[in-house]
Each structure stands twice: as structure tokens, then as C-alpha cells.
């Protein structure tokens, strides 16, 4: 209640003039609900396997602070230049903006910020812990784990059988899709951070697993899934390897292939091999085991690219037999309903060549039986913990073929588990605050604006080069324009609405951020209602 005074008549001013201010009224007592400013999870972040802080980094981008944007982006994704090219971008599917006009082009923004920061990153940690971690396999999972463990101050040594890091990305993914320069820069950043590489060294052959276990405080197995896993049917040995083709082409070879060729596969690699073949001058057909609508979302983008380029498809078909006749390959295929071959659907197809491009599998041959059951590793999917103390598994070696972002997440989460292990703490998987739905977005604050298209080569331009990058991304101008479309769901970007609209001036602006003055806030809820991005909740003050 208002403060009471006991003025005598003689103490009053002549006119009925006020003497003090309403600051004496703690109107917070009127409140039955109180506003709580609390960041939430955007649907994009919630969907992103590695939980990239998307609204956060886009906000910094909008504000022109590219370094901050990069820092926020790298917090959960060490290689945005790679994901910005290869990720299937599941984040864009649930984007709230998609329910309004079109989803934000998150992947391209990620790529823009990643590329901006590519040469700047790679700072050694401030403090060394003295703990040593060996990582078996320098593919994406191993690199990601190395990045986070090193930034925590641990000594990290990556063992790889190849002459350089990158694994599948370096030796198979074509240049037009991921320029080597990008990968080299990421590897360079790891080097600058102080990650050590032991190359041309295969664990199990050049150095024993047990030896590693003894020499290091922890070992992460990130040896991937690159062992061939072709189906078994008569004549399969007559067919060529798509993997080898990709590898040759990546190394600079341009084998002559022409005419009708087929690619047999069950995922990303099949589409990519077909695209390489198209560029080499052939007329590729992909024989794919499921129906078109069953192509997983993660392969949709590459499928579309392939289709645009003139790659043809036979869906829901499986090979039964391969023969060579008159220098051609005769392939017998049949319809496949997902479980069985459909009877009486066999037919023969004639190709110049047939390439096998099935997704690989992991080879755990070098590991002790204690952590294996029937060729799969016994490991926790998130922490990578195995029955062997100090031994963790990350990436495709445990998950099988996976989209790049899932592999990165695996590397990141296993790194967190290893870090906890090295520090003697219990690993707790990160949790996410509640997700902001479209109903919490006040779309009135966002003028409709179409998604800014990224620069791309046309299909005709694409099929004429195996080296020219097919997606060129955004210029800074385009990136800013697209970034401004972002709702920044659940992330307080200090837009000021709550401050501007507070009828009681109880939302103060402190160090560039809103702060509720609960002494006076009457709990009207205008701030919550007008927060464009669902950051402010009204929480019941007390029970009635």
C-alpha cells in the first residue's frame, strides 16, 4: 500500500502540489503472474543433431558481429564450413518461419559464417590439463572430438592410416562438393590448436590398441565405416567399385566412362557416384532399393541435384544377377517391396558398366572381443562409453553410415564424456530448454520476405566440371538479408519490445538487456505477449 504521511496543515504547500513520487508504491504486490525472461530452444536448434545455437549466431550476424557469430556457431559445431556444404540441414524443416513464408536458409548462413572464420580459428587452449587422449581415425568424428577435447586443454593425438586427415571427406567426396582447401583449412585449424597427428599409421597394424590404451588416459575409437559392404549376388565381382571411382576422381584421375551406366547403392554414395559419372560423360542410372518417396530426407538434396543433372533412376529395384556379354553388363533386377522381391518382376537391363556404391560398414577387427558383439561395438550412443574403461567410441564406427552433422555431434558429445571422465566427473548429456512453437511467434513484427536464394551453378554448368564448386553460397550482403528474416525463436536478441511496451516502466534496460523490476511490475503480461520470439513466460506468482 501507499506510504502514509502525517502532514500537518502548516506543513503543506500552498497549492495542492505533489511532494514525492510514486516510487513509494511497490506495485509488485498487485501481481498474480510474473514475467520471467528465459531463453528457450528454437525448433531448428532442437532438431539439429549437434544443437547448433542457430538463433544466437544469426542474431550476431544481423548485428554485424561476425566474430561473435562464429564463436556461437563453433560452440556446438566445429566445422561449419563442412556442414555448410554437406549437411542435409534438418534444422530448416521445423523452422517457424517456414509456417509463415519460407524457412531460413540456415545452412547457407552457417557456411557463410564458417567460411568467414575459416582462417581465423584454431587458437590453442588457455590452460593445459596434462591429460592425453588418443583418437583412432581422423575422419569427421575424430576431428570433431579432437577439436573439443583440445579446446578443453587436453593433449590430443589423432592416429590415421591415411597420409592426411579427413577420411571419407578427403578421399571420396568430390571437389565440386567440398573443396579440399576447405578441409585443409579445418585440419590446419586443428593443427594450430595443437592437436597432434600421427599419420600413415594404422591401429592394429602399426601400433597396437593395447599400447594406445596404456600410453593415453583415454582412447576414442573413431575409425568410421568405410569397409565395403556390397550385397552378395551372382556376378557382383564383375562390377566396378563406385568408391574407387570417387577416390580416383578426387585424386585427379578422369577415367573414360561413356554410355549407359548403372550405379547400385542404397544411400548418399550412390547418388554421388552417379553425379561423378555424369560429369565424366556417362549416362548414369541409379538402381535404388526403395520408392522415390522413401528416399531419406538426408539424401533428398543430393537426389534433387542428381536428378537436375540428368541422372536417371530405377526405384524400388534390387539387382539379382550380373553378367558380362559382348563387353556390356547385363543386370537382372527385380522389384523390391521393402521386404521381399516382388515375384515375376525380373528383367534384364544392359549397361556399359555397373558401379557398386553401397554405404560402407565399420571394421572393428583390431579391437578386443570385450567391446564387440557380432561386429557391432558395445557402446553408449551418446557418451560413447564402452565396457573398457577409458575407451570411447564415436561416429560411424558405432552408428553406421550417418549424415555429417550426426557424426559431428557424436564427436562432440563423446568429447564431452571423455572430458568428464578425465576430470573425474559424471557425464550428463546436455539438456535443452523447452522448444518455442510457432504460436509463440508474434509474426506481426516480421514483414513477409522470401528466402534469399544462394548462388548456385546451373545443372548444365555443374555437369561440365568436377572441380568447380556447385554451390557458391552467400555474399555478406545476401547473408545479412537472409539473417534478418530469422525470428530468433526463443532467443532474446534485445529487440526492446518488452522495454518499449511496458506500461509500468518496470522492464529496465540494463547493459543492453531487459531486466524486470519485480518491486513494481504489476504482471500485466504485455511484455510476454509482445515478445516476438517467445522468450518471456508468465509464471504464476502464488496459488489462490
Amino acid at each position: 500500500m501507499a506510504k502514509k504521511y502525517d502532514f500537518k496543515a502548516s506543513e503543506l504547500p500552498i497549492s495542492p502540489m505533489t511532494l514525492t513520487t510514486t516510487l513509494e508504491n511497490p506495485t509488485g504486490g498487485w501481481r498474480s503472474f510474473k514475467p520471467v525472461i528465459k531463453n528457450k530452444t528454437a525448433p531448428c536448434t532442437a532438431t539439429c543433431p549437434t544443437k547448433v545455437l542457430i538463433p544466437h549466431f544469426i542474431d550476431s550476424l544481423v548485428k554485424g558481429d561476425l566474430d561473435m557469430a562464429a564463436n556461437l556457431l563453433h560452440r556446438n559445431n566445429p566445422f561449419p564450413s563442412i556442414t555448410g556444404r554437406l549437411c542435409h540441414a534438418p534444422c530448416e524443416l521445423p523452422c517457424n518461419r517456414g509456417k509463415y513464408d519460407e524457412p531460413i536458409s540456415i545452412k547457407q548462413l552457417e557456411r557463410f559464417v564458417g567460411d568467414y572464420y575459416l582462417d581465423k580459428k584454431g587458437k590453442p587452449p588457455r590452460r593445459e590439463t596434462g591429460k592425453r587422449v588418443a583418437i583412432v581415425g581422423g575422419g569427421l568424428a575424430g576431428m570433431a572430438a579432437a577439436y573439443y577435447l583440445r579446446s578443453k586443454g587436453h593433449e590430443v593425438v589423432i592416429y590415421d592410416r591415411n597420409p592426411n586427415l579427413g577420411g571419407y571427406l578427403r578421399y571420396y567426396v568430390p571437389e565440386y562438393r567440398l573443396p579440399l582447401a576447405v578441409l585443409d583449412a579445418e585440419v590446419g585449424a586443428l593443427e594450430r590448436m595443437g592437436v597432434k597427428f600421427v599419420l600413415n599409421t594404422e591401429v592394429g597394424k602399426d601400433i597396437g590398441f593395447e599400447e594406445l590404451k596404456e600410453k593415453y588416459d583415454a582412447v576414442i575409437l573413431a575409425h568410421g565405416s568405410s569397409a565395403p559392404a556390397n550385397p552378395d549376388f551372382p556376378g557382383v565381382e564383375l562390377l566396378k567399385s563406385g568408391w574407387d571411382l570417387m577416390k580416383e576422381v578426387r585424386e585427379g584421375a578422369r577415367p573414360k566412362v561413356s554410355g549407359k551406366v548403372a550405379v547400385l547403392g542404397n544411400g548418399y554414395t550412390a547418388f554421388e557416384v552417379a553425379r561423378v559419372l555424369r560429369r565424366l560423360g556417362a549416362d548414369p542410372f541409379v538402381i535404388y532399393p526403395t520408392a522415390k518417396i522413401r528416399i531419406p530426407f538426408s539424401d533428398r538434396e543430393i537426389f534433387t541435384l542428381a536428378e537436375e543433372e540428368g541422372v536417371k533412376f530405377f526405384f524400388a529395384k534390387v539387382p539379382l544377377k550380373a553378367e558380362r556379354r559382348n563387353g556390356k553388363v547385363i543386370l537382372t533386377v527385380a522389384e523390391w517391396d521393402g521386404k521381399d522381391i516382388v515375384p515375376a518382376t525380373e528383367r534384364e537391363m544392359e549397361f556399359e558398366e555397373v558401379f557398386l556404391a553401397y554405404e560402407g560398414t565399420a571394421d572393428h577387427g583390431f579391437l578386443p572381443d570385450t567391446i564387440r558383439t557380432d561386429g557391432t561395438l558395445k557402446a553408449d550412443r551418446r557418451s560413447g562409453e564402452t565396457p573398457l574403461e577409458g575407451v570411447f567410441v564415436a561416429g560411424e564406427s558405432v552408428s553406421g553410415p550417418s549424415p555429417v552433422v550426426n557424426v559431428i555431434y557424436s564427436g562432440r558429445s563423446v568429447a564431452a564424456a571423455v572430458d568428464a571422465y578425465l576430470r573425474g566427473r559424471t557425464y550428463t548429456p546436455e539438456s535443452m530448454p523447452e522448444v518455442v512453437g510457432y504460436e509463440r511467434i508474434v509474426t506481426d513484427y516480421f514483414p513477409k520476405a522470401p528466402r534469399v536464394p544462394e548462388m548456385r551453378l546451373s545443372p548444365t554448368e555443374r555437369i561440365h566440371s568436377l572441380t568447380r564448386e556447385e554451390v557458391l553460397g552467400y555474399t555478406q550482403e545476401l547473408a545479412m538479408k537472409e539473417a534478418e528474416r530469422c525470428f530468433n525463436c526463443g532467443f532474446c536478441n534485445a529487440c526492446g519490445n518488452c522495454y518499449v511496451f511496458c506500461p509500468d516502466y518496470t522492464i529496465k534496460w540494463v547493459h543492453g538487456r531487459p531486466k524486470v523490476d519485480y518491486e513494481y511490475c504489476k504482471g500485466c503480461g504485455v511484455c510476454s505477449e509482445e515478445c516476438p520470439r517467445g522468450v518471456i513466460d508468465m509464471v504464476k506468482e502464488r496459488e489462490f
Binding site: T18, C495, N497, F501, D504, Y505, C524, G525, S528
Partner: protein, 315 residues
């Protein structure tokens, strides 16, 4: 960059103390806060009987950090004139004298003094924060109460059957140098207009739409949203009139159906139950809007592209 910071500067001229006596979600306090952001300390508010007679605080307290002169219901414009005259005589030409009145004190009882001051082109700024009824006395109709609305004197059985008085046309007829509508939901627009008003000499009028959650029978958190919908449904267009003749629409609304606005508020319950009345109001709104668009067109010689979409050719 957020729109909010285009015209509003954080922590600049925050001249309204909390602890004031407005109801939760009061639009009139948002209005005053925003106005003071433009006017700064060199301003005096003349407040006739209205919600703000209470909001500013009970003696000995006072929320606004500028001088306030309380005056009788019908005297906002003339009391402001008197203060202006005194300050001018004292050589204080650099301060703004602002009549800060509700709709009753403007549209009804204060109309005579307002007309006098407007006609004499007194050098004052008159801002009416319009909550569309006598709210401070407990929600009785005023001539600002809109078509179809419930008030305690236009009960559900006989809701308001006359359209809101068109104050802007009355002011335009006085040929005042500057008159504008504004809404608390569009602070940038309001602040731009008030800034413009401060740069004009003579009588300046701002009709500021300012929702009243209790009086409109709606939740307190909806005051800004309802104000926004009033604009976007074309019920309360944002425009300005210079010298009584040059009309400029400052915000082209989305043209949402009027129900979108009505359904937030309990006071329009009788309309929502009566499809004929609803259709009538929608037609009325369209006609009024089209007239305004034509005035804009006549003033400027053309219409922007976004204007075309807001006119229903079928009328």
C-alpha cells in the same frame, strides 16, 4: 536491427516512474511513456479529468518526472493555452505545453475548448489518449465509443449504434497545421509523428489509440495486440493531416477482417453474435477506409503499390 530502436532510445527520457496507479496493461501509460521519450523534461502535461488524473498518483505522489497541471474535465485545451501564454510572457519558448486528455475530455465535454484553441491556432500539442469510453468512471459510452461496442450505458441488449465521432475530420476542418492518428502498438510511427509535431508551430493534435483492458473486457496482456489489430483491420487507420488538407496514410494495413480485432474483446460480444451487424460494420470500415485512401491519393497525386491491396473493389 529491431524496429524498436529506430525511434526509441533505451534509457533516454524515461520520465515515468513505476508505482503509478494505472491498471495492469494500461495503454495510456504506454502512451505517456512514449510521448515523454520525445518531449523530454522540457514539457508540461495538462491533464483534465481522465484516467491519468488517477494514474499520475495520489497526493503527495506523482509519477511523471515533468510538471503536471491537473484541470477540470472540459478545460484541457484552454488550460494548456493559459500555461502557454504565461510561459511565453516569461520568455520560456523552449518548452512544450501538452494537453493530455482522454477521449471523453476531447470528443465530448472538452470539445468546445478544444475547438477554440484549435481555431485560434494556439501553440500547444493536444494529445488525446483514446480508450473509447469513460473508463475512469466505470466504462460509460462516449462519442468515441465505436459502433457495436458494449459499455455500461450501452449494454449488450442495446450496444453502441452510432459510429465513433471522427475527431480528425473535426480538427481538419479547423485547418490546424498538424493532426495525426497514432497507436501505442506502433511506437515508431507515433514517435515520428510527435517529433514532427514538436517541430511545427501552432495547434498540433494527436489522436492516440490506447486500449483499456478492463474497459474492453480483455486480458491485460492484449492491450498492444488489440491496438495493432485495430490498425491492421483498418478500424483505426494511421495517418496525418497537414494544414487540414494534405492527407498522408503512414501505415498501410494488412486489411484483416474486423472480427480479428473484435474477438479479442468482450465488449464486442453482441456484434460477434450478430452476423448482420458484423457485416454492416465491416462495410462501414471499408467505406471509411476507401474515403481516406482517396484523400491520400488526392493529396499526393498517386497511391503506393501497397495501397491497392487494401481497397476492396467490390464495395
Amino acid at each position: 536491427m529491431s524496429w524498436a530502436w529506430v525511434e526509441v532510445k533505451p534509457n533516454e527520457n524515461d520520465l515515468m516512474h513505476p508505482g503509478h496507479l494505472a491498471c495492469q496493461g494500461c495503454g495510456a501509460t504506454i502512451a505517456a511513456r512514449l510521448a515523454l521519450k520525445v518531449l523530454g523534461r522540457k514539457a508540461v502535461f495538462v491533464i483534465p479529468a481522465s484516467c491519468w488524473s488517477v494514474i499520475d498518483g495520489a497526493w503527495p505522489q506523482h509519477a511523471l518526472q515533468i510538471p503536471v497541471f491537473h484541470t477540470a474535465f472540459e478545460t484541457a485545451a484552454i488550460a494548456a493555452t493559459g500555461i502557454r501564454a504565461a510561459l511565453d510572457m516569461k520568455g520560456k519558448h523552449d518548452v512544450h505545453v501538452v494537453a493530455w486528455a482522454g477521449d471523453g475530455g476531447t470528443f465530448d465535454i472538452g470539445l468546445q475548448a478544444l475547438s477554440g484553441a484549435a481555431e485560434r491556432n494556439e501553440n500547444i500539442i493536444y494529445i488525446t489518449y483514446d480508450n473509447e469510453a469513460y473508463m475512469n468512471t466505470g466504462i460509460q459510452r462516449s462519442s468515441s465509443t465505436p459502433l457495436g461496442a458494449w459499455t455500461t450505458t450501452t449494454p449488450d441488449e442495446r450496444p453502441e449504434d452510432k459510429p465513433k465521432k471522427n475527431m480528425m475530420e473535426i480538427l481538419a476542418a479547423h485547418r490546424v497545421p498538424y493532426a495525426a492518428t497514432a497507436s501505442i502498438a506502433y511506437p515508431d510511427d507515433f514517435i515520428r509523428k510527435l517529433k514532427k509535431a514538436t517541430q511545427v508551430k501552432g495547434f498540433r493534435f494527436i489522436h492516440l489509440f490506447s486500449p483499456c483492458p478492463p474497459g474492453w473486457k480483455m486480458a491485460s496482456n492484449l492491450s498492444v495486440r488489440s491496438a495493432r489489430l485495430a490498425v491492421e483491420t483498418k478500424i483505426f487507420p494511421l495517418y496525418e493531416i497537414e494544414d487540414g488538407e494534405v492527407y498522408t496514410i503512414t501505415h498501410w494495413p494488412k486489411g484483416l477482417p474486423v472480427e480479428e480485432y473484435f474477438k479479442l474483446q468482450g465488449r464486442f460480444k453482441p456484434v460477434l453474435k450478430d452476423p448482420d451487424r458484423l457485416a454492416y460494420i465491416q462495410r462501414y470500415v471499408e467505406t471509411q477506409w476507401e474515403k481516406l485512401v482517396r484523400l491520400h491519393e488526392a493529396s499526393h497525386g498517386y497511391l503506393p503499390e501497397e495501397a491497392r491491396a487494401t481497397i476492396r473493389s467490390a464495395i
